[in-house]
Symmetry: C2
Subunit: 193 residues, 2 copies
């Protein structure tokens, strides 16, 4: 259960964990299982935990005035799910996060994480690298969203994230790209020729 998480940290930080540190991590992260469709976070609640996905698939989305879902993140194994703004600011979240497949996570509160970071240097390094990677990915996604047509955005996404294409149905991908399922269907039809 903890194997993936420990491997993730080791790989990211490149600062081998001692067995004491490993034990501390195992004692702090709590396993949590979610059935398909079960909420991990519901709009209006404060996001208390961040979760590392050991197995499964999840999505994060907001719901607009008309009841339409807008998917902002998709997660699979080895991703971290949570709403940082809510978690840091302690404000009610604008997002829902739920399981798209049956999912196993390892969850931790922000306070626990801060505490662990004081004790385990590798975690500090990991967080910093994750933040950097994250900032870069966000920049790219934003750039793509602003500059490209729907068609090009889909191409780019399909090229860079084939795992998601296989794992989530088209209407979910469409929402993630900020277009309707009909438009995506037509784009794909075009592309096939």
């Amino acid at each position: 259960m903890y194997k993936n998480l420990l491997a993730y940290i080791n790989q990211y930080a490149n600062l081998p964990l001692t067995s004491k540190e490993e034990a501390l991590i195992e004692a702090t992260f709590q396993p949590k299982k979610l059935r398909k469709k079960q909420y991990f976070l519901q709009e209006g609640d404060v996001c208390k935990n961040v979760g590392f996905i050991v197995k499964g698939a999840m999505r994060q989305y907001s719901i607009d005035d008309k009841g339409v879902e807008h998917i902002v993140h998709l997660y699979i194994e080895n991703y971290w799910a949570g709403d940082r703004e809510s978690s840091i600011m302690l404000t009610p979240s604008n997002y829902n996060i739920d399981a798209w497949e049956d999912t196993e996570m390892l969850i931790i509160t922000r306070a626990e994480m801060l505490d662990l970071m004081e004790k385990i240097p590798a975690l500090v390094k990991m967080i910093r690298l994750m933040d950097e990677r994250n900032a870069i990915a966000n920049q790219r996604r934003l750039s793509s969203t602003i500059s490209n047509t729907a068609e090009k955005r889909y191409e780019e996404f399909a090229d860079n994230h084939p795992q998601f294409i296989q794992r989530f149905p088209q209407h979910i991908i469409a929402s993630f790209l900020g277009i309707t399922k009909e438009t995506l269907s037509r784009i794909r039809k075009q592309a096939m020729k």
Copy 2:
């Protein structure tokens, strides 16, 4: 010249700098003046410096196949300008950054910054908080771009960033929002009624 930067660090980190630390910072950050339209970073170059803006206004943008500029960031006093991806990965940047007004910056290389962080704890804390704030802002912007119409995006932007509206002309704001200047002109005309 260094007053703004020191104040910025103190306020962000909330960990008062010693006078030795202040001296070290002043010795490391280099002043740099840019005339209006002068490049700070040009597409294809590796971004070697990040710069704190003491006075002035800048923009960051890419140029597409058709020669159209897509503005991804606007900066004014107390912002940091640079392309993180290029700077971290040491890859040629896809962006240009130039001065929209005559600008005074304090610049530092990534290596120097990493070195300073070893010596000044307040900087480590500042960077971490900036990363967090940044991640939150990116999330919001992305959400808004995906979920809202051009009109709502403009409203939100004008509400949250009135300084930019005053400082940059409309066609720059339009590009930043991912729409054409004509569309923005019409949106504003609508809104006036």
